[in-house]
Amino acid sequence: MVLAIAQEPKCHTPAKECERQIRQMLSGRRYLGVDLDEGKPGLVIKSVKADSPASRAELKEGDRLMAVNGKSMEKATVKMFKEALAEARQTGRLWLIVQRRGAYKKVEARLEPYPQEYIEKVISGHLAQAHNVASGGGQ
């Protein structure tokens, strides 16, 4: 708190406007909820966010993503996977082929919007950081 007072507010935009902007930027986005690493061949799942579409699709840490929606991911980068994800934004459906402990498995996942509490958390975090507003205030 002392630190926050010492620092002048970093964001000159009104707090309301920032909030609106964040909502707009995050809402409507779909996410899967996995953290990936490039582990040739394929992409290795580093972590799976709890209570996310990935966890609901029963993706596990250490799974190797080999294909997404018919596209091979054997030599892909994380960026390419994200692009494939972005392409699937309209339907929100993903058909993944994962290699788990040597066995190939077909997984169907459904992209979901960011949950409301995530957005609220981001907003409150920004407000606390840049606008000197006490966190937890919500809207």
Partner: protein, 520 residues
């Protein structure tokens, strides 16, 4: 057209009516036809050139707009890629980019307004940074996103600021370079601007040129590049030569027309002179020959005729005398006309003359001649007339010619009235006969030299056609004029109007003034 002209030329040549006119006009016609063709060609050419200019302008506008739009697209892509790269660098430096990292990134790319970094690891710990207060609430904002290995960055940016960054790409003039014509540079330019795109791409016709609108690619698809090419840049107006060629050929044609007119007029004048000369030869030679023949006949008869009676001899002598008189009269008329026409020889000698003396002297000296022709002349003179500054001889000659004329053109009614009177401006000498009169058609030609009225058969009415010419010239040399009233069948009245001298005292001055040769 030419066939007809040539046939006309030939026809006139064979007909020998007026061969000169066509042959003189022919060069003019040819030159003006050439000029006309030339003018038409240059006009046509200038139209074609204008069309070419328009085509060029349209093409260049399209080219400039397309090229610039693609160039701006490339520059924008480079900006986006640059921002992307910078973020990658930041991400490489710190495993978990925080608030400060995003802020640093924002400061490097001043056209980005807000950005949010969503890490894959934990979307709830996204970092949002907003730069710069809102200057204008309604300013357009465009969104864009890219993915990194650890997450996603979404940002909004100000398109105006971004376009300002790539301004150099817009300013750069596209040049037409052709490898096949090395060194050739098409000197054209277009005004290239960025305009909001409102669903109308392609060519727009402007009053003085063309504009081509080419939209930018997404995400700035609501902006377009507009290239405007004025045809004036390519060349029009005076450069276009249409006005110049048109007016130049018009002036040339006008000059040709003037030249042709002058040539025709000169030819007409020459033809008049020729006609005069012919008339002179025809009339005068005839008139000279007749008295000479009479004189010769009389003299020969006198020489061989010893058996002639006294009366016959006297008649012959009279005849010779009359013919000599006539001949000398004729010669003097010709000489006088020539002299006055050419303004050479002696100028008129103005001396104070009393009109009454002049008329009575003339009448007494020619009384016998007049009476011998059976004419009855009545003279009426105003007594109040003062002496006038006249040339005695020429005025007498004019009056005599008028009387002679009246006698010549009288039939049975042999009465002539001579009347001298004055009005405030003129001294008027009037000679009136009472017989044939003058036709309207002849009336305005009787003063022409060698002209003789059509009805007059030259056998009975002798003369060279110079009498009235001389009268008019003498009168004009005195500053006066001749008036004619005539009714065919009733008789004619000739009036000499000679300006009055102001007074006896200033007669000398008036004489000096009047002795100047007057234009005839």
């Amino acid at each position: 057209m030419f066939d007809r002209l040539i046939s006309r030329l030939r026809g006139s040549r064979s007909g020998d009516e007026r061969p000169d006119r066509v042959s003189v006009l022919l060069p003019f016609l040819i030159i003006s036809a050439g000029l006309g063709v030339l003018a038409w060609r240059s006009y046509e050419l200038s139209i074609r050139m204008e069309r070419g200019v328009n085509t060029l302008a349209v093409q260049y506008a399209g080219y400039a707009a397309e090229i610039t739009a693609r160039r701006v697209d490339a520059a924008l892509r480079a900006e986006f890629a640059g921002a992307n790269d910078q973020w990658q660098q930041i991400e490489r430096r710190s495993e978990t980019p925080g608030d400060n990292s995003v802020r640093e990134w924002l400061n490097k790319n001043e056209w980005i307004v807000t950005a949010i970094y969503v890490p894959d690891r934990d979307p709830a710990s996204s970092v949002y940074v907003s730069e710069l207060p809102e200057e204008k609430p309604g300013a357009p904002r465009l969104g864009r996103e890219f993915f990194t290995s650890s997450g996603m960055v979404r940002y909004t940016f100000d398109p105006d600021r971004l376009l300002a960054r790539v301004h150099s790409a817009i300013r750069q003039q596209p040049l037409v370079r052709n490898s096949s014509t090395a060194g050739l540079e098409v000197g054209q330019r277009a005004d290239v601007t960025v305009v909001p795109f409102k669903n109308q791409s392609g060519l727009v016709r402007l009053p003085g040129g063309f504009a081509f609108i080419s939209p930018l690619s997404p995400p700035l698809q609501s902006y377009a590049i507009r290239a405007e090419v004025r045809t004036a840049y390519v060349g029009s107006g005076w450069e276009n030569q249409r006005v110049v060629s048109f007016w130049a050929s018009l002036v040339a044609l006008a000059l040709m027309a003037i030249g042709a007119f002058l040539a025709i007029r000169g030819m007409n004048q020459e033809a008049d002179t020729m006609r005069l000369r012919e008339a002179l030869i025809a009339n005068v030679s005839h008139e000279l020959r007749t008295p000479l023949a009479m004189i010769r006949l009389g003299a020969e008869t006198l020489k061989i005729g010893s058996k002639l009676s006294e009366k016959e001899r006297r008649d012959l002598e009279d005849q010779i005398l009359r013919e000599v008189l006539h001949l000398s009269h004729l010669v003097e008329n010709v000489l006088d006309v020539a002299r006055i026409q050419n303004q050479t020889g002696r100028a008129l000698a103005f001396t104070p003359v009393h009109p009454r003396d002049l008329v009575t002297n003339l009448m007494t000296s020619y009384e016998s001649w007049i009476l011998s022709k059976g004419f009855n002349v009545t003279v009426e003179i105003d007594d109040n007339i003062e002496p006038q500054m006249w040339d005695r001889d020429s005025v007498s000659r004019a009056l005599l010619n008028l009387i002679d004329n009246a006698m010549k053109y009288s039939g049975d009614n042999k009465r002539i009235d001579v009347c001298v009177r004055q009005n405030p401006e003129y001294v008027v000498i009037e000679v009136r006969d009472h017989d044939i009169g003058i036709d309207d058609r002849d009336l305005n030609r009787i003063f022409d030299p060698y002209y003789r009225a059509k009805f007059s058969d030259t056998q009975t009415r002798r003369g060279a056609g110079l009498g009235l010419t001389l009268v008019q010239q003498i009168t004009m040399a005195h500053g006066g004029r001749v008036e004619v009233d005539s009714q065919p069948g009733e008789g004619s009245t000739f009036r000499l109007l000679l300006p009055r001298s102001v007074s006896t005292e200033s007669a000398g001055v008036a004489g000096l003034v009047q002795s100047k040769p007057l234009p005839s």
